[in-house]
């Protein structure tokens, strides 16, 4: 329990917890914004919507996997100090956020673009 260089753990370790749900929020916002912009008269490009959505979803999933991988590696290097559980927590959050990303992509796959309810 005596690492070479002790440190007061920086706040960024706590903020890192917010990365996975932040990735979900970014994917969510992207697809929602894309729908809002591409389905309104000024822009009106429904085709681009599918590509944007697919890209956003795949990027988000890739980012989550990369984050989880890096977290795993980081956990090995970190001394077992009091708040080490933050690493585990971030991994679980990555899992939950991944689920949310996949669910957010469902409507994409199933619903027609730019159709208002009740045709």
């Amino acid at each position: 329990m005596s690492p070479a260089r002790p440190r007061v753990r920086p706040l960024v370790d706590l903020l890192r917890l917010f990365v996975p749900p932040g990735i979900w929020f970014a994917q969510f916002t992207t697809v929602y914004l894309a729908e809002a912009l591409m389905c309104t008269p000024p822009v009106a490009r429904p085709g681009a919507l599918i590509w944007t959505g697919a890209a956003a979803t795949l990027t988000a999933l890739a980012a989550l996997i990369a984050f989880a991988f890096m977290q795993g590696r980081r956990a090995d290097r970190i001394e077992r100090t009091g708040a080490a559980f933050l690493h585990d927590a971030a991994l679980w959050l990555a899992l939950l956020s991944g689920l949310a990303v996949i669910w957010t992509a469902f409507p994409f796959a199933v619903l027609p673009t730019c159709t208002p309810p009740a045709g």
């Binding site: 753990r9 000024p42 009091g82 927590a89 409507p107």
Partner: protein, 845 residues
């Protein structure tokens, strides 16, 4: 814990006996004002009592309104209440419950419980809590009183325009809502600042994040959510009030506005709002269940994950309140998906509590009963929530009594039941007598039965076609039986509350000295001997359940063997520690009681309320008095640096820190996040209106020439530069003080100039804010800029005064640092606004 920290902390506790007079000095520093002057108190225990009491008062008042509504709806075509009265009452019931009870009561529990739970002596900004409380209390009473003058709003608690625009709501009621509730939100934000800084920076040494009580986690996330959610409704409130008062057409379709903009902004706040209400209650349950089951909380790490996931996911749900507005299907699908996603963290929490009960041996007590009642009611409510998350089902259930049933199941089940559990649970920590178990069980059964009898039938009446917000219904629909049952249930529930009130009067004896104590054998720090200053000495924490795992901790603390057994500087103090590992970093000197917070609160309330009744001159006077009170309050802040202080265990820490170590720097950063969220909501509104009404966006020829915004931008940037330069002149000697004043003064001129040029440029093109939605948006950017500019002018003047008085120098620099933070943010916001307002039309034109 790190090696250094361990070495620093692992020392033996302080020697005994403690010096003579140490305890007396501590008690003297923390003594309370006598008699009626108690209203000038600022410490968290007294403010906490006031706060909880006020919130309960509003609960009772809004509950009486509900009983009146139920009497009117008990039979078809009833004439007990007139249409207009009923419409005001249902609006006030919702508004008072949501804004004056639900959020304040959980905030109040935080104010009351958190410092002691964390081992701190008080919250980091005691006068801010006092101000927040009094602003809320005075503002709330005035708001409620509008009912007695037929001035209450009647647009529903979510106040949709155009119904709430001047044309369809010509009276003052809507303005009371907008200005009254808008200003009460200041309390919530102040509370959020307090809680974030308090939870992250003032925990007892050794209380690392994973040893922090779960209630503290929930309050931290609660506060974070407030920071990002409340600004949306604050902006919406500003927009609607500007429309009503000056005709700026944000929501008027004929001029390019859109009624749906309000709904997006409101619900972007409104959905996180309900989780803001629920999470602290879940935190309270997470404290009560382990004690009642006599075993540590199971799944601690999973619950933290669930809380954070809930916090984030809840920001992606808001459109599920507006599934029926014709928004494109795919968008609805996204929000349906997110609404499902948020159910999973709740499931994790529920099963964690069940796991805790299974791991232990649940004792039957009033708090346990309320927790079990919560589990049933909240789960049922959550499940109807999953039902309405499915879009086609919501197309039928929306705006019917099915939703009324759902929302009461999750709010009453999810917050009120845990709250009552909390009252019965924590009373012994704050009162000389515990509440009665006999009365408590009666209260529980009446409330539980009454609640289900009242609200379960509403699922059915909603599905049978009964819409919400109807003052009556026809006999022919045969909804009378269900409604009568609901009314009976409501009165049963009220009877339960009455029994509780009787119990309170008979048994509750709030105290700041010797409460009856740890009758439940609980494990968290608020159960140690508890005074107005918290524990006698701040304990070194080594476990998640300190009172179970560190035997003798309470006695050691009481004997003064741990940190801060007295007062080092003679005034109130607490320890500032690092956010994750809770290593002591500084000694924080706290203010004692005083009149400036309550006066500032009363005058601020006066400002808003007088504006509502259009007594402008009086309002301005009241506002100026508020500013004066705040300036006096601020002048007494920022005490001078003293030599390093020994806080016990052989550890010395600085008495004055600046930069990111400073607690007030943290508070300013949180405020910047609030300001940024507000501005983001504005940017969203701007772009949203463009997608709805692109035809009112100007062609480039109609916009001011580019030279104007460029000049304005240069002025803004210059002001930032001047502020930075002023920072270099901080060392205290006459020449530098003069330079400092000149630089700050010039910065003020540049900042104001940048704003004035922008407004002038628009004005001279003939663009008027009431012309159309785009013009209104242009001026809104300047309005938001103006609010910060005014604040900065006052703050800059204050900094100049401090400098002249010799109270601001290179070491004692917090005033300057905070000014800088807000200044540079404001300049960035201003530059972004110029880019948006002048660049965007050219981009799309």
């Amino acid at each position: 814990m790190t090696d250094v920290a361990e070495r620093r902390l692992a020392g033996h506790p302080n020697k005994l006996p403690r010096p003579k007079g140490e305890l007396e000095a501590l008690e003297k520093a923390w003594e309370l004002p006598q008699g009626w002057r108690i209203i000038s108190a600022v410490n968290n225990t007294v403010i906490g009592y006031f706060y909880v009491g006020a919130a309960l008062l509003f609960f009772l008042l809004a509950g009486i309104l509900a009983l009146l509504m139920r009497l009117q709806l008990a039979v078809p075509s009833n004439t007990f209440l007139s249409q207009e009265t009923y419409n005001q009452i249902f609006t006030m019931h919702g508004t008072v419950m949501m804004f004056l009870f639900a959020v304040p009561v959980v905030e109040a529990m935080g104010v009351l419980l958190l410092p002691q739970m964390l081992g701190a002596r008080d919250l980091p900004f005691p006068r801010l809590s006092a101000f927040a409380f009094w602003a809320y209390f005075v503002g709330g009473l005035i708001f409620f009183a509008t009912l007695f003058f037929d001035l209450a709003p009647s647009g529903g608690w979510f106040m949709y325009p155009p119904l709430t625009s001047t044309q369809y709501s010509p009276g003052m009621g809507a303005d009371f809502w907008l200005l009254g509730i808008g200003f009460i939100e200041i309390s919530a934000i102040a509370g959020a600042v307090e809680l974030i800084v308090g939870v992250l920076r003032t925990r007892a040494p050794g209380m690392t994040l994973d040893r922090m009580p779960m209630f503290a986690w929930t309050m931290l996330i609660f506060a974070g959510m407030i920071v990002f959610a409340f600004p949306a409704v604050i902006l919406a409130t500003m927009l609607l009030e500007l429309e009503r008062a000056f005709g700026w057409p944000f929501f008027i379709p004929q001029k390019g506005g859109d009624a749906l903009l309000w709904q997006h902004l409101f619900w972007f706040f409104g959905h996180p709002e309900v989780y803001i209400i629920f999470l602290p209650a879940a935190g309270m349950v997470s404290m009560i269940v382990p004690t009642m089951a006599r075993t540590p909380l199971a799944g601690y790490r999973l619950i933290v994950v669930a809380l954070i996931a809930t916090g984030f996911f809840s920001f992606g749900l808001w459109v599920h309140h507006i599934f029926t507005t014709g928004i494109p299907a795919m968008s609805l699908g996204f929000f349906s998906a997110a609404s499902m996603a948020v159910a999973i963290p709740s499931g994790i929490q529920v099963y964690s509590w069940i796991a805790t009960i299974a791991a232990g041996r649940l004792r039957w007590s009033t708090p346990s009963l309320f927790v079990l009642g919560f589990l049933f009611i909240f789960t049922l409510g959550g499940l109807t929530g999953v039902m309405v998350a499915m879009v086609p089902f919501d197309w039928q259930a929306h705006d019917t009594y099915f939703i009324v049933a759902h929302l009461h199941y999750v709010l009453v089940g999810g917050m009120v039941f845990p709250l009552f559990a909390a009252f019965y649970y924590w009373a012994p920590a704050f009162s000389r007598r515990a509440l009665s178990e006999r009365f408590g069980k009666a209260t529980f059964w009446l409330m539980f039965t009454g609640f289900n009898v009242a609200f379960f039938p509403m699922h059915i009446s909603g599905l049978m076609g009964m819409p919400r917000r109807v003052y009556t219904y026809p006999e022919v629909m045969e909804w009378g039986v269900l409604n009568m049952i609901s009314t009976v249930g409501a009165f049963l529930f009220a009877a339960g509350v009455l029994v509780f009130l009787i119990d309170l009067v008979r048994n509750l004896r709030p105290t700041v000295t010797e409460p009856i104590g740890n009758v439940w054998n609980a494990s968290s720090l608020e159960w140690m001997h508890n005074h107005v200053y918290g524990p006698r000495s701040v304990p070194l924490v080594e476990s998640r359940d300190p009172l179970w795992d560190q035997p003798g901790l309470s006695e050691e603390s009481k004997a003064g063997r741990h940190y801060l057994p007295g007062t080092v500087t003679g005034v109130r103090e607490t320890i500032v520690t690092s956010p994750i590992e809770a290593v002591p970093q500084a000694l924080l000197r706290l203010p004692g009681y005083g009149w400036t917070p309550i006066l500032a609160a009363v005058f601020t309330a006066g400002f808003f309320m007088l504006l509502t009744v259009k007594a402008t001159a009086l309002a301005l006077l009241s506002g100026m008095l508020a500013v004066v009170a705040i300036l006096i309050w601020m002048w007494e802040s920022d005490p001078k640096p003293l030599p390093r202080a020994e806080i016990g265990h052989g550890i010395k820490v600085p008495t004055y820190v600046s930069g990111s170590l400073s607690h007030s720097w943290w508070a300013m950063v949180v405020l910047l996040l609030v300001a940024g969220s507000l501005y983001l909501a504005y940017v969203f509104s701007y772009l949203y209106l463009w997608t709805v009404s692109p035809q009112v966006w100007p062609k480039p020829a109609q916009s001011p020439a580019l030279s104007w915004p460029i000049i304005a931008a240069l002025l803004l940037a210059a002001s930032s530069g001047l502020i930075l330069w002023a920072g270099r002149t901080l060392p205290a000697n006459f020449r530098n003080r003069l330079a400092f004043c000149v630089l700050i003064g010039s910065a003020i001129v540049a900042l104001v100039g940048g704003l004035a040029i922008e407004v002038f440029a628009q004005w001279r093109m003939g663009i008027r804010p009431d012309a159309d939605a785009h013009a209104a948006m242009i001026y809104m950017a300047s309005f938001l800029q103006l609010e910060l500019t005014l604040a900065l002018v006052v703050m800059a003047g204050f900094a100049i005064a401090r400098s002249i008085a010799g109270l601001l120098n290179r070491r004692r620099r917090v005033v300057y640092d905070n000014l800088g933070l807000l200044w540079h943010y404001t300049v960035l916001q201003g530059l972004f606004g110029l880019l948006l307002v002048h660049g965007f039309p050219r981009l799309v034109g």
